[in-house]
């Protein structure tokens, strides 16, 4: 009868991993679909504050992004520790904001221009001084629709 009990007794059968690729592919597709390739690389720290009274920005192509925050480690020697403005890929001064807005407007079709919104992505540790300056510049060029981009969450997350 040795023919029938050549299996060692008590050993667990191996888990079937044949469906593992399927699971991984499923995850892969999820991330592929959800990924938005960042169009501008951030050179500043940009940790957004939390708020819960938020509205969604629906027309993504009609949004101009202005980033504010402290320069990252690699840029500290050159640009210092204070919060700076980043427009597209470059560090900018407050005075560069109007030109940026004009060029963004220029790149959009004329009938869409009134709907352009400026999204201010400001690091939570930045001071209001520079934000106020940027807002003043935006008023000067009549870009009045702004959106303070935030994470969704309770405001108690903001105090650390």
């Amino acid at each position: 009868m040795s023919k029938f009990n050549n299996k060692k007794k008590g050993e667990l059968p191996a888990v079937n991993t044949a469906s593992l690729p399927d699971i991984v592919f499923m995850l892969l597709f999820f991330f592929m679909v959800a990924t938005v390739m960042r169009d501008n690389e951030l050179k500043i720290k940009n940790e957004l504050p939390a708020a819960n009274q938020v509205e969604k920005l629906d027309k993504k192509d009609l949004v101009m992004y202005i980033y504010l925050g402290k320069p990252n480690d690699g840029f500290k020697d050159q640009f210092g520790e204070e919060a700076r403005i980043q427009l597209n890929d470059k560090f900018a001064e407050v005075g560069d904001v109007p030109a940026f807005i004009y060029s963004e407007r220029e790149s959009k079709r004329e009938e869409l221009r009134p709907f352009l919104t400026t999204a201010l992505k400001v690091d939570k540790d930045a001071s209001m001084g520079i934000v106020g300056d940027v807002k003043q510049e935006l008023r000067k060029v009549n870009a009045l629709k702004i959106n303070y981009t935030t994470r969704i969450g309770d405001v108690s997350l903001n105090s650390n």
Binding site: M32, N52, Q53, A119, G129, L144, I146, N147, V155
Partner: protein, 198 residues
């Protein structure tokens, strides 16, 4: 001769390849945040004349450089701000033409006349941190949203937030024109009058 079967392709490394791709996308993904508090900046006007607003209709919120909050000349914690703002906006202390017949507040004659007249004035210093500023903005918007929701429930049986969600929902079965009208009515009854001092 034994039956010949075609050799099977070894799919064992398929998982590895998929994992590699997965990790690549995991690393490059930044789930883009695209929501925030929308505001409208005031246009620059060269108008000389000053509009006279009664002191009792202004709710002053001051944020100093140390992120402390001063509301109507009293030090306040952030948690209390929403309550205080609701109380001020919903006071309805006016009489005659300024009477507010939908307000549920204390009708204190020393506080705001009606929500249309009530203005919240927010002042911050250059040293204030952005996180605090956003927290305060959030609380003030929350006060307005609370009142609008309550009014929406009263008039139409749905909260203001729900109405706005339905308005954006393409699959919503009801009449959008009617909904828009309702939203506008609530917005008129509780207008967001938030002014920022430069």
């Amino acid at each position: 001769m034994a039956k010949r079967s075609s050799p099977e392709v070894n799919a064992g490394s398929m998982a590895d390849i998929a994992f590699l791709l997965l990790i690549f996308f995991l690393v490059t993904t930044t789930i883009e945040t695209d929501s925030g508090i929308s505001r409208k900046l005031p246009p620059i006007e060269e108008s000389e004349e000053d509009v006279i607003i009664k002191q009792k209709n202004i709710f002053t919120v001051i944020l100093n450089g140390k992120n402390q909050l001063l509301v109507e000349d009293e030090v306040m914690e952030l948690e209390e701000l929403r309550e205080a703002a609701i109380k001020f906006l919903d006071n309805g202390g006016g009489s005659g033409e300024d009477k507010c017949n939908y307000c549920k507040g204390a009708a204190n004659p020393k506080s705001s006349d009606n929500p249309d007249k009530a203005i919240i004035s927010l002042k911050n210093e250059r040293e204030t941190t952005y996180a605090t500023y956003i927290s305060v903005q959030n609380e003030l918007v929350a006060a307005y949203t609370f009142l609008r929701n309550r009014r929406g429930e009263e008039l139409f049986g749905t909260s203001y937030t729900e109405m706005q969600k339905n308005y954006k929902d393409v699959n919503w079965p009801g009449s959008k024109a009617k909904l828009k009208e309702n939203i506008t009515q609530i917005k008129l009854e509780y207008p967001q009058k938030l002014s920022e001092v430069q």
